[in-house]
Symmetry: C2
């Protein structure tokens, strides 16, 4: 068992759902060594055979049977795979049957419906992503007006990835506005932001972590100095507190967590 155990993420669609849930499940088993293999678009017997051989080979090499985490609509192909000796966890199989019973209808059993390239939700997401990119780091008044949410905070505190995630996952038009030392010195919100108070959220981060992030970008600069980071973060937090801006601390939180907290805060407003 030296090399650990192989986990296959298998799907007749993109396999993204299988991989997302699968990683969530595996993360519950700390210290175990998993080797991950993706098998998306497994939509014909030929590909299934290939996958089958890979599963077998992994079992032989690892000396232990693999895990196969799948979302398979095509039950014939699913049955083919199950000839192998592995632990199969099929997300759709387990949930589609109780849903069909509850809803009193048969499911479509078709692949890839969850992210088709046509629906209005999808178009919204694309538009929101374009918006987030175009309005990264300092934007005009007109742009702020069109934003659903505006993130403020010191440089490199996590505004950009959070905006992007909000746009991609939730279809929100997210702009972000950096608090530069001049803003912080004036100790009040930049005038540009005043009309948009109701869309503002702040982000902050521990100065030590900010220092490390800025060091990578501009090593040994004044910008990256720990002292600068301390001062900027303290002043930005003071400013946000005084102005009554709701803010979130990125320090040991992931972007996903912060994004969901922002969504919740928006819903409450």
């Amino acid at each position: 068992m030296a090399s650990g155990r192989t986990v296959f993420f298998v799907s007749d669609g993109t396999g993204i759902t299988a991989e997302t849930l699968g990683k969530g499940l595996l993360s519950q088993f700390e210290g175990m060594n998993f080797h991950q293999v993706r098998f998306p678009f497994l939509d014909n017997p030929k590909k299934a055979k290939e996958c089958l051989l890979r599963i077998r080979k992994a079992r032989e090499q690892d000396g232990i049977r693999p895990l196969v985490i799948m979302t398979m609509m095509n039950s014939e192909i699913s049955a083919m795979l199950r000839q192998e000796d592995a632990l199969f966890l099929d997300l759709f199989e387990v949930f589609i049957a109780p849903l069909e019973k509850e809803l009193g209808v048969r499911s479509a059993h078709t692949v890839g419906r969850s992210h088709g390239g046509t629906g209005s939700e999808y178009t919204n997401r694309i538009a929101a992503m374009s918006f987030a990119i175009a309005h990264d780091d300092g934007v005009s008044d007109a742009d702020l007006k069109n934003a659903d949410v505006i993130l403020i905070g010191v440089s490199r505190c996590g505004k950009t990835p959070t905006s992007l995630y909000l746009s991609m996952q939730f279809g929100l038009k997210a702009a972000n506005y950096p608090l530069i030392p001049e803003d912080i010195q004036r100790d009040r919100l930049p005038d540009t932001l005043l009309p948009f108070r109701d869309k503002l959220f702040g982000l902050t981060i521990a100065p030590e972590q900010l220092h490390l992030i800025r060091q990578e970008r501009r090593p040994d600069s004044n910008y990256a100095a720990l002292d600068t980071c301390w001062k900027e973060v303290a002043a930005a937090e003071r400013l946000m507190k005084r102005e009554g801006i709701e803010w979130f601390d990125m320090t040991s939180r992931s972007i996903e967590e912060i994004a969901v907290q922002i969504i919740q805060a928006i819903n409450k407003r």
Copy 2:
């Protein structure tokens, strides 16, 4: 049943996994009307009670029992919810038990491990997202050198959202390079791209769809004219074919699907 049925996405973490899988499941039941409610960070009895009341109210208003799709680590809170009359589908419950048995260890039963803010995979993703944003739409030689993948194609064919998705989901440094009419007229790859052939992938799209997308950006311009779109797309495809660039058609494909196909193509190289 006029108002449809309410679906709750409930989690003691972000709930993103529950929502992603849940939407995939619901998309299999076409034409049914689902009203979606998120309940993330449900990590104490007080919040559970709130959620419980919402579930009850939804059942009374809809005249039919709600669906509750969950990822709950905390089994006490999970048990509290289950007092209500609803269909509960708990992703972790169904899969954690067989995994524990197979792996011969107990799971950590802790929340939010799948996207913690510290691991190297996470840091990679953040770096890749910054890269994708900084190198959107035309980049320098030095930047192309650092890219894991470079997407080429005519303006508005989908390069930007695809780069972003590749960076966010797979941690790839994705740059993109627009094929402008001048490149296409010369009918050969721009010199800048020549050293990076092995990282190039093309994107294309049906001219009619491109026309609609460009119309929104610059209505009734020459840039958006159907005739322009036809010519650009035809010439870009001819160029990519002649240069032996592998390319993908965004026309009725989602960004997720194209991104996974690119990942597969990279793995094959």
